[in-house]
Amino acid sequence: MTSTTLDRPFLRETGASERGKKNARLRASRVALHTFLILVCLIWLAPLLWTVFASLRTYEDTSANGYFSFPKELTLSNFGKAWSTADLPNYFLNTLAITIPALIITLLFSSLVAFGVTRFSFRFNLVLLMVFTAGNLLPQQVIITPLYRLYRLIPVPEWLNYKETLLDTQLGLVLIHIAFQTGFCTFVLSNYMRTIPQELTEAARVDGAGVFRQYWQVILPLCRPALGALATLEFTWIYNDFFWAIVLIQTGDKMPITSALSNLRGQFFTDYNLLAAGSLLVAIPCLVVFFALQRQFVGGLTLGSTKG
């Protein structure tokens, strides 16, 4: 009761006789609203629940009774099988080797640029910021054809890649992630740093701190909330990348997990239960972000669209 009246404070102003009628109508609309939302949420969860359901059943059970049946037994064995037969640990390690450096350097680079453009006025501040922001909005396919050629021309030492080109190396993947994602992060961080009073860095300067110390010891610690949000978001995005890896990595064993899944399908994940289990295993880091870091993720997404 209190919640409904609190919800729309202006209703309290209406006459006492009307209030009863209005409350009854409100309650009816609330029930309708909740019914609608619950229905939508069930539809929204259906694909995932269906995947979980399929992954927990045995091949014998589903081939005899179909998937749309009451399960005879539920088992976790599909997960173990998917994990070992498709060599998932190798691909998870690849993802880790790509995501972690890309994430750290992206945040470092974008905070450096954001610091530069918000704390000091060069002539090209706005242009620079626009270049970064626009670069992040380009469809990846616009740059891929020349980038692919460029990567084939750039030599790397043999221990990194026996073909001695940047193409087909995880380093190349890390570099394009950094270059591409720096755009978005610079934009978000510069918005954030602008809210930090100039007096702070000025005071540090008066005390004799150089530019780098002003950045590292004054501004960066204050950006921790924004950095946390961006780290969560960027982790998800780099982890979820499919396109860069499909084009720039040619050796199947070097692929990160999300793009490897499309190769593994049909080759190792032969039945649907196994494919469902494999897909869920790959989705686990994303689901951890969802359950544990929801606030940071949503914060990161909306930081870019609304200010502050």
């Binding site: 919640s3 919800d7 729309r8 404070p9 202006f10 102003e13 609330r30 609203l33 909740h34 929204w44 259906a46 995932l48 269906w50 589903t62 179909g66 998937y67 974008s110 640029v113 530069g116 000091f120 910021l129 626009m130 970064f132 922001t133 380009l138 469809p139 990846q140 396919q141 616009v142 740059i143 891929i144 054809t145 020349p146 050629r149 570099l175 950094i178 270059a179 720096t182 150089g210 530019v211 780098f212 998800t236 979820n240 990348d241 499919f242 396109f243 499909i246 999300t258 899944l261 499309s262 494919l275 989705a283 994303c286 689901l287 969802f290 949503v298 997404l301 909306t302 669209s305 609304t306």
Partner: protein, 317 residues
């Protein structure tokens, strides 16, 4: 604070010069450090994002097989574009699919996301749980969304046909039938996009001044009128951002169709044609670049809209 502000006034040096020096006066080391701090990331970004973009434009007027060195590049004018427009059977279907993609995303997930945001932006019991469930697909990779929905659409075993009761009698091959598979994929893409749009609108609504709504209610406006005449106009900046993000997502769309069937048989998109040209057997650099430039030209209008919207707001504050 006050002490600090008073100091310059007692200082004999002229105030305006001081103000200017404050912004630019940097010691030599500081200047070099700052240049490195901003320069290194900028060089990397320019080299890997903007140089390829500009090369795309130049190479699109050329013919190059990519095997010989740069001197084997022949410039052929707009021949690549003419060939693409007139003699490439996969091009127009791909453009048509991209347009369907854009229209669908702009109409259904966007308006549904807005509706959900408006419904959930109040002190409703369980609103957090509803929000969480609806945004769950946003954390998943689009490729993963493709895999998950393949399980849903499987003709005999999938949930969709089983719920419709046609799995055994006359199953619909949602992803295999080239007349309908684009819409089936769009439902899956919309599953993810709706949550994203909802989050953006929820953030916009949170910063909305509730007294505006109360004023409208006191003036006798009903909920519908309040929304269209008061809330929606105030949300204009968010609308622009949602529009641009949706269009860019629509033009970038690749992962989901590539994960499902490598973008063939009714699921061709411009992005797939570009990728096929690179990792396919006959790689033609000029050709792929021309396709990329077509994509660039379409997206540029929206990118500029976004920049204008975002940086105009910046000036105001």
């Amino acid at each position: 604070m006050t002490v600090l502000q008073n100091v310059p006034r007692t200082d004999p040096t002229p105030a305006p010069r001081r103000g200017r020096r404050r912004a630019t006066a940097l010691s030599g080391t500081d200047r070099i450090v700052l240049m490195l701090m901003v320069g290194i990331p900028t060089v990397l970004h320019l080299a890997l994002v903007w140089v390829p973009t500009l090369s795309s434009i130049v190479l699109s007027f050329s013919s190059w097989d990519g095997i010989g060195d740069l001197s084997t590049i022949k410039f052929v004018g707009v021949q690549n574009y003419i060939d693409i427009f007139t003699a490439y059977p996969r091009f127009w279907p791909a453009v048509q699919h991209n347009l369907i993609w854009l229209a669908f995303l702009l109409v259904l997930p966007t308006s549904f996301g807005l509706l959900l945001a408006v419904l959930l932006d109040r002190q409703l019991k369980g609103t957090r749980i509803y929000q969480s469930i609806l945004y769950l697909p946003v954390v998943l990779a689009l490729a993963m969304v493709g895999f998950i929905w393949q399980l849903m659409y499987e003709p005999n075993l999938g949930l969709v046909n089983n719920v419709l009761g046609i799995a055994q009698s006359s199953p619909v091959d949602w992803l295999g039938d080239s007349d309908i598979n684009i819409y089936a994929v769009l439902v899956a893409a919309g599953w993810k996009h709706t949550g994203y749009v909802m989050l953006l609108y929820l953030a916009g609504l949170k910063s909305f001044d509730p007294s505006l709504k109360e004023a409208a209610a006191l003036d006798g406006a009903n909920g519908w009128q309040t929304f269209w005449k008061v809330t929606f106009p105030v949300l204009k900046p968010i609308n622009v951002i949602v529009l641009v993000i949706t269009v860019i997502e629509g033009l970038r769309a690749f992962d989901i169709v590539y994960a499902i069937n490598r973008g063939r048989n009714g699921l061709e998109l411009v992005s797939v044609l570009i990728t096929d040209n690179i990792i396919g057997e006959s790689s033609r650099i000029g050709w792929g670049s021309a396709l990329a430039v077509i994509l660039l030209v379409i997206s540029l209008g929206f990118i500029i809209t976004y920049l204008v919207q975002v940086f105009r707001r910046e000036d105001r504050t």
